[in-house]
């Protein structure tokens, strides 16, 4: 597993900080890409931030009410090492699905 | 049209001496032998002895000068199908060389490892990259053996023509060689014609040597009909590469005085007048005149050299006549080092069902 941290992005034009309103995930949660993980409030608005990757939450950097600075870590994920190559995706292993049933009378000699 | 001068090789590295009288006479003998053998091979085709041949008439100085300029013991030539003069100069057995023109075996019967002359093949530009790989191998060997500082590197002599310069592989080869600082001399014989297409319709910018600059590679454009100029350029280029300074382009400006091959008809794309004007002075008579002028040879020497060349060509002809077909089983023998059950079964079937048991 590898750790990847994401900093608080600049949510407006030249904003310096935001206040954590509510964490929508907790440490240990498996988060999917684009899943909202935090609600923050800036001087302009309050927004939910979508996760940029899929992974397991390792650290939440701050409690509700805390001020987080832009470009400082906001959340840290543990992600699988076996990420895909430079193109393409890692195929998902799923239980085999079928529609076809074999139906024959075998008249073996 | 005099070739535009171009010489971006750094000042001469300590090098073999300027050829002395004996070497000059040797060079003349080689040129004469090559001319005689080339002319003979065309005749053999007309006599039905060989099915085809790619004449190099007019390119004797370029080829003998290049072959004479390298170290037979440690350098390696990667020829095209029109490098008979290089093969001769490097000491390749000419019956074994000519065997490919007698349709005995693709690539000829000579031993490429012993002769340092790769088996030639027909894909234009196809072997130029091999020269780069082989040369990079010399660099790696030198680093492994820690001997590059003393003995210098073996140099790959990659032969190509103005036509081949259009191939993507030649670009890739020059780029790889420069990136790898590989000891390669790209020896371009610009003979004016790629079968029927003249250089001006082939080489954008007009010069293959000029492309060296784009690769950060020194280049020399040389009068390819002047054997001493070619020899000097080759030696300088090889010394540069040998010293580990990377590849060099030598563009020898020459002229294909004959057809592309024995089945080509140049009358369809150029006139005899064109050939006279564009061909310039014959490289052989030019060197003969130079030797006479310097007093290094006389009529008796030339007569003897001519007679020797004739005798040598006759001897080679006898060898070519005597060449017999290889056993059909060799079709199967050399596909792999370790053959496969499938191929073994095919060989057995061939043996059972054909007359060549």
């Amino acid at each position: 597993m590898a750790e990847i941290s994401f900093p608080l992005p600049d949510l407006g034009e030249g904003l310096l900080e935001a206040t954590v309103l509510e964490w929508l995930v907790k440490v240990g949660d498996q988060v999917e890409r684009n899943q909202p993980f935090v609600e923050v409030e800036t001087t302009k608005s309050s927004v939910e931030l979508p996760s940029p990757i899929a992974g397991i939450v390792l650290t939440l950097h701050g409690e509700p009410g805390d001020v987080v600075l832009v470009d400082r870590p906001l959340i840290t994920f543990a992600v699988a090492d076996d990420s895909a190559g430079i193109v393409g995706t890692v195929p998902q292993e799923a239980a085999p699905k079928r529609r076809v049933r074999l139906s024959v009378v075998l008249d073996e000699d | 049209m005099a070739p535009r001068a171009l010489d971006t090789l750094p000042p001469r590295i300590a090098d073999a001496a300027v050829p002395g009288p004996d070497q000059l006479r040797d060079l003349y003998r080689m040129l004469t032998n090559v001319r005689q053998l080339d002319t003979s091979a065309v005749a053999w085709q007309r006599q039905g002895l060989i099915p085809g041949y790619a004449p190099m008439l007019g390119q004797e100085a370029a080829q003998v000068g290049a072959g004479f300029g390298v170290d037979k013991a440690r350098d390696f030539a990667f020829p095209t199908y029109r490098e008979m003069g290089v093969a001769y100069t490097l000491g390749v057995n000419m019956v074994e060389y000519m065997s490919t023109h007698k349709a005995i075996w693709h690539g000829g019967l000579y031993d490429p490892v012993a002769t340092h002359f790769a088996p030639f093949q027909a894909v234009v530009g196809g072997s130029v990259l091999h020269a780069v790989g082989w040369a990079h191998g010399q660099t790696l060997n030198g680093q492994t053996l820690n001997s590059s500082s003393t003995a210098g590197l073996g140099v790959a002599l990659a032969f190509l023509g103005d036509g081949a310069s259009s191939q993507g592989d030649v670009h890739e080869a020059m780029n790889f060689a420069a990136i790898l600082t590989a000891p390669v001399v790209f020896f371009v014989q610009n003979n004016g014609w790629a079968i029927s297409v003249p250089t001006e319709q082939q080489v954008a910018g007009g010069s293959v040597a000029a492309r060296g600059a784009g690769y950060g590679m020194p280049a020399v454009r040389v009068d390819g009909n002047d054997v001493l100029a070619v020899l000097d350029a080759t030696r300088r280029a090889a010394a540069h590469a040998r010293a580990g300074l990377g590849p060099v382009v030598v563009e020898a400006m020459t002229y294909r005085r004959g057809p592309h091959s024995t089945s080509d008809d140049p009358g369809r794309y150029r006139t005899l007048d064109d050939e006279k004007i564009d061909g310039g002075e014959d490289p052989l008579s030019r060197f003969r005149a130079a030797l006479l002028e310097r007093g290094m040879a006389d009529a008796a020497f030339f007569a003897e050299a001519d007679a020797q060349a004739q005798a040598r060509a006759d001897e080679i002809r006898d060898g070519v006549v005597d060449l017999t077909s290889r056993p059909g089983s060799e079709m199967f023998d050399f596909v792999f080092q370790e053959s496969t059950p499938t191929l073994g079964a095919q060989a057995r079937q061939w043996r059972e069902e054909s007359e060549h048991v």
Binding site: D82, A84, G85, I86, V87, G88, T89, V90, P91, P96, K97, R98, R99, V100, R101, L102, S103, V104, L106 | F76, W105, H106, G107, L109, D111, P112, V113, A118, P119, Q121, V123, G126, V128, L129, H130, A131, V132, G133, W134, H136, G137, Q143, T144, G168, D169, E172, A173, N175, F176, I179, E330, F334, V335, F336, Q337, E338, T340, P341, T342, L343
Partner: protein
């Protein structure tokens, strides 16, 4: 001196992905063969776009593992020259579809140099090609080149289906004196499985095909990523009372004719499954071989479940193209219900 010596052999059994197994094999090859070289696009500093060569340049230096300019023909041509100079090149072409620019060097030079030189210039070159589809990649990243290369005299072609085979077959290929095209099924790069690193086991055969699952009613012939899919099909067929044998062909040139004949002569039915297009695909060769060796015992014509005669489609459509479980089951059904007219 050895009367008390007890030979305790360590047989390290590791859980590795195919990508890790190949990486490990490459490291061992470089360690034991000082003429072996690895080169290609992004194989050095980056460690390959699939991380297959990860860490090898740090371990063995930039002379043994090096990045080349972005030119596949150049990579192959340089490999040929290095082989002429006595090296054992293991070049990588980054993706199957990028082997096409190198096809000239592969076919006209690499495959023929031993022949042309009458055995004087062997070509111990192992060309690694991440191959086949299934990862939703862009165009030219999902090609099946086996029938193209199997058709070329002078080449050997192999494709492993799992980490264990990848590890051993790659080491074997790299020790061979002839050119081998090593087709790595990239859709299987990440699946972990037990790898027995011991070389001297009887159970590790390096030549020919292997029976991945025994069965008696029909043989599924497959290679690369299609082997695991056929194993899934066999599992499902068992629910219906049908026992399918899965023959992992592995070597696509030379094809293990004896192993193929032995399996099909027992099961008397064969379905060949591959990702590549149908017409003149390797399945046609398999079908011809089976019809020749098993004509008298065959209960049905050999069925081919393959990709279609279309350019490899975009990621969204690749599941429609690559033989899926149902299409394979349909093929099995056709073979099983066939009756002589």
């Amino acid at each position: 001196m050895s009367e008390t010596l007890e030979l305790v052999r360590e047989t390290p059994l590791l859980q590795l992905s195919m990508q890790q197994a190949i990486n490990r094999a490459l490291g061992e090859i470089l360690e034991h063969d000082d003429r072996a070289l690895i080169f290609g696009e992004d194989v050095g500093v980056l460690g390959g776009v699939f991380r297959v060569t990860d860490g090898l340049q740090q371990r063995f230096g930039a002379n043994r593992v090096f990045d080349t300019p972005l030119a596949e023909s150049g990579i192959l041509g340089t490999a040929i020259g290095l082989a002429m100079a006595g090296f054992h090149p293991i070049p990588e072409v980054q993706f199957d579809g990028f082997a096409y620019p190198a096809v000239n060097q592969i076919i006209t030079q690499l495959a023929r140099m031993n022949y042309r030189s009458r055995g004087r210039l062997p070509m111990p070159v192992t060309l690694r090609v991440p191959s086949f589809g299934g990862i939703r990649a862009p165009e030219h990243h999902g090609e099946s080149l086996e029938s193209l290369f199997a058709h070329v005299p002078g080449l050997k072609v192999v494709s492993p289906s799992n980490p264990q085979q990848a590890y051993h077959l790659l080491k074997h290929a790299a020790s061979m004196p002839d050119p081998v095209i090593f087709m790595e099924p990239k859709a299987r790069y990440w699946n972990k499985a037990a790898v027995d690193l011991a070389d001297d086991q009887d159970s590790i055969s390096l030549e020919g095909s292997v029976i991945a699952r025994p069965g008696k009613h029909a043989t599924l012939v497959a290679w690369g990523a299609m082997v695991s899919r056929c194993l899934q099909v066999a599992e499902l067929a068992a629910e219906d009372g049908i026992e399918l044998e899965v023959l992992d062909l592995r070597w696509l040139k030379p094809i293990d004719e004896a192993g193929l004949a032995a399996s099909v002569s027992r099961t008397r039915r064969a379905i060949v499954v591959h990702e590549g297009p149908h017409t003149a695909g390797l399945g046609a060769e398999v079908a011809a071989l089976v019809s020749q060796s098993c004509f008298d015992t065959l209960r049905a014509p050999v069925e081919r479940v393959t990709g279609f005669d279309v350019p490899y489609p975009s990621g969204d459509l690749e599941d429609e193209y690559i033989p899926n479980i149902d299409r394979i089951l349909f093929g099995v059904q056709r073979v099983l219900e066939y009756r002589r007219g």
